[in-house]
């Protein structure tokens, strides 16, 4: 599938700020499921800084904007050719040992209920892949999609207790469940092209990856009850949503920040 992306993020401040610094992970991952035809990241009035590929295989680019400034505008535009690998992250180069993704973070600490989901899934399963699918299905069942009830700092356990949430909560819950069963798991951020059947989601999307022996990292998207396919564009990963954030930034000054994001994905007719 040939997907075009237009992604614009605007941080507005109610008073002039001294300066701003950003660390961007807004570049499509390099693996067999994605082929980048064109890709441009730009920060308005910004200075491009350090650029490198980190241990998880993600490209990172630093930017800074000199003040006084009233807004920071980040634009992403590009075209990616995608393929369906049934969620398997084939051909992705990375250095971090999978075991490193067993460590808990505040957002992904498993409580009793999450452990139980994991244990049940593992119990009757035929192998790791089957167990992972069962976990993802159980999370999808346990947390209904509903925007607005959870927020950026809601933990996996809290979302499960609420039984409602968005893709971030689904991903956190699945990660917590898997880690508690000794399966390395991580958070992935990216884009998702709107499917025809009207499955609920936003174009800026997130899901989880689990490390399964023999297969390596495999993506699971409980929010959409599937594995990432050609509708997905993978950007980067981390221990949890905070760690995998495509944009990390800070502006120095006393102003209050207001965020405005627009993402548009389109499939190009071929």
């Amino acid at each position: 599938m040939l997907l075009t992306v237009q992604h614009k993020t605007i941080y507005r401040y109610d008073m002039p700020m001294r300066s701003a610094v950003q660390s961007l992970r807004l570049f499509p991952s390099r693996f067999e499921g994605q082929h980048v035809l064109s890709w441009q990241v730009e920060v308005a009035n910004g200075l491009r800084g350090a650029s490198f590929r980190d241990g998880a295989g993600d490209k990172v680019e630093g930017w800074s904007v000199r003040g006084p400034l009233n807004e920071v505008v980040v634009t992403v535009e590009g075209q990616v050719e995608t393929a369906d690998l049934a969620g398997v992250l084939r051909g992705h180069r990375e250095m971090i040992a999978p075991e490193a993704y067993l460590r808990d973070t505040a957002a992904t600490e498993a409580d009793h209920a999450l452990r139980q989901i994991g244990a049940d899934a593992l119990a009757g399963s035929g192998g790791a892949l089957d167990a992972a699918h069962r976990m993802a299905a159980a999370i999808a069942e346990a947390i209904a999609y509903r925007p607005g009830v959870t927020h950026a700092h809601t933990t996996a356990a809290e979302a499960l207790a609420l039984a409602e949430g968005v893709c971030q909560d689904h991903a956190h819950a699945l990660i917590a469940t898997a880690r508690a069963q000794g399966i390395p798991a991580r958070y992935v951020s990216g884009y998702l092209y709107a499917s025809e059947d009207g499955t609920p989601h936003e174009a800026a999307h997130a899901w989880a990856e689990l490390y399964l022996d023999g297969l390596g990292w495999v993506g699971f998207d409980p929010a959409n009850r599937c594995c990432p396919d050609e509708r997905y564009i993978r950007l980067g990963s981390g221990m949890d949503a905070r760690d995998a954030a495509p944009i990390r930034g800070i502006a120095l000054g006393a102003g209050q920040e207001n965020l405005d994001v627009t993402v548009a994905l389109a499939a190009v007719q071929q």
């Binding site: 300066s19 610094v21 950003q22 660390s23 200075l47 491009r48 800084g49 350090a50 650029s51 490198f52 590929r53 980190d54 241990g55 998880a56 990172v60 680019e61 630093g62 800074s64 000199r66 990375e94 250095m95 971090i96 040992a97 075991e99 490193a100 067993l102 460590r103 981390g238 221990m239 905070r242 760690d243 954030a245 990390r248 930034g249 800070i250 120095l252």
Partner: protein, 470 residues
């Protein structure tokens, strides 16, 4: 009754390294000694070397007690320590290079993956990145204790930002000013080359991108920090800037200092702040502390940070057990310095042994430091032991235990005259283009009779440490 090794006296005989001090003691009547002690204290206060225990309140200008009686090593004793400490520093760096790279030691099954990769100090942001010369820990402080003429044990390693080196330098300075005669009569190896060695070490790990004499700075949390004196002292001796995070900013892939003449590029940062406060973008998005974007510059090779973020995974108390294994695995050598036998309370068998023998053991928190949160079994009451037992049972993973070591003593000036007191030693090994160690270190002394806790926060003092030249 435990026998403690006295470093000066073997029965009535004076051991060779201390021979030069015998007449010195005799020539010092109590009054003179008190006068000298007061003089030393005045000198310390004048130069401003003070130690404020963080969060303890009270006098922020408190001095660490200085004991004038030097601690002495003969050249052959030192040679072994020198080789042993350097060997350890090399192995620890090889370990860091490995676990932030391919993780061979884990794959080989020599260290459990869990201890490394799920360690709080293991830093994802560093994996896959190799700093200049592959060095992660540039200043390694190795805490040593002695139990006999030839028995030295490593208590712990400090791979992050070991402090106290200013005392090593100042103690020597004060002793030379007060007792020049002693230094004429004894051939004592100098330690004052440390600052220059440190500067050279840091310069040797400048980023490859740096094409001129590197600009170095010490990064301090600020003047409220208890070690601020040391930071400013070292910056002054090395002739480098002492900066706070707010003095730095990131732009165009480099780190810059804010100066009166505009931005000045910085190449090497000797940081004396914790990982968590280096870069809010990387470690704490909710915090304004640190230099935003610093880690991006670091990982793209625009600046060197010494020690590397994540270096702490090598000095963790649970990893400690495996350091001799590192020496064999990476260097293919036998460890020169021994570890203290250690029981991991996280292991069922070890836990049982520890709980059955609490009265004889020293128990420490895995991530504790400064002598806080530890139990010295033989020096504790029944109630204290029982209270600690409850803590261990609550969270066994968080504790390790070691036998109570018979720490050596050296003569120390006390109220009543001269008496033996327990000591330890921290030499500071520098790792850059070369691995170097100045002949000396910081000797800490437990000033309370019988006490085995030498931490300055727990009533410990310091001594000048001599290594006799050949």
């Amino acid at each position: 009754m435990t026998q403690y090794f006295n470093e000066m006296y073997e029965g009535d005989a004076v051991r060779a390294p201390y021979a030069g001090l015998e007449s010195w003691i005799r020539s010092m009547p109590a009054e003179l000694r008190q006068m000298k002690q007061a003089e030393a204290e005045a000198l310390f206060r004048r130069i401003g070397i003070t130690f404020a225990v963080y969060g303890e309140g009270g006098d922020p200008d408190r001095l660490i007690p200085f004991d004038m009686f030097p601690r002495v090593f003969a050249q052959d004793e030192w040679r072994k320590l020198d080789r042993g400490v350097k060997q350890r520093a090399r192995a620890l760096n090889a370990f860091l290079r490995d676990v932030y790279g391919r993780g061979e030691i884990v794959r080989a099954g020599r260290i459990p993956a869990r201890l490394v990769y799920q360690n709080e100090a293991y830093e994802h942001a560093v994996s896959g990145f190799t700093p200049p010369r592959g060095i992660y820990s540039h200043i390694v402080g190795v805490d040593l204790v002695r139990t006999g003429p030839d028995e030295f044990f490593v208590l712990e390693d400090n791979c992050r930002t070991p402090s106290g080196v200013s005392y090593m330098l100042e103690n020597r300075e004060i002793m030379m000013r007060m007792f020049p005669q002693l230094f004429r009569e004894n051939r004592i190896a100098p330690v004052d080359g440390y600052a220059e060695l440190l500067r050279r070490t840091l310069a040797s790990v400048a980023p490859e991108k740096c094409d001129r004499a590197p600009t170095i700075a010490i990064l301090t949390p600020g003047h409220f920090n208890s070690a601020y004196y040391e930071h400013s002292f070292l910056a002054d001796l090395m002739g480098v800037e002492l900066v706070e995070a707010a003095d730095l900013f990131v732009e165009g892939g480099f780190v810059w200092m804010r100066t009166t003449e505009g931005p000045k590029k910085l190449d090497v940062i000797y940081r004396r702040i914790d990982d968590a406060f280096l870069d809010p973008l990387c470690f704490r998005p909710d915090s304004m502390l640190g230099v935003p974007g610093l880690m991006d510059v670091y990982r793209s090779g625009g600046v060197t940070i010494a020690s590397a973020p994540g270096a702490g995974v090598a000095d963790d108390k649970a990893i400690y057990t495996f350091v001799p294994e590192m020496v064999r695995f990476y260097l293919d050598e036998e460890p020169i310095l021994q570890n203290v036998p250690t029981w991991q309370c996280g292991k069922a068998d070890d836990l049982k042994y520890v709980l059955d023998n609490l009265g004889e053991l020293v128990v420490k928190e895995v991530h504790g430091s400064g002598g806080y949160g530890m139990l010295v079994g033989p020096k504790s009451t029944k109630d204290q032991i029982e209270a600690f037992r409850a803590k261990i049972e609550m969270d066994p993973d968080n504790y390790i235990a070691q036998p109570t070591l018979a720490l050596s003593t050296t003569p120390t000036f006390v109220e009543e005259g001269i008496a033996p007191r327990h000591v330890d030693l921290r030499p500071y090994c520098l790792v850059g283009e070369q691995v170097s160690l100045v002949p000396g270190g910081l000797t800490r002394v437990a000033l309370t009779e019988g006490s085995l806790v030498v931490n300055s926060s727990q009533g410990g003092g310091v001594k000048d440490t001599w290594v006799l030249a050949e």
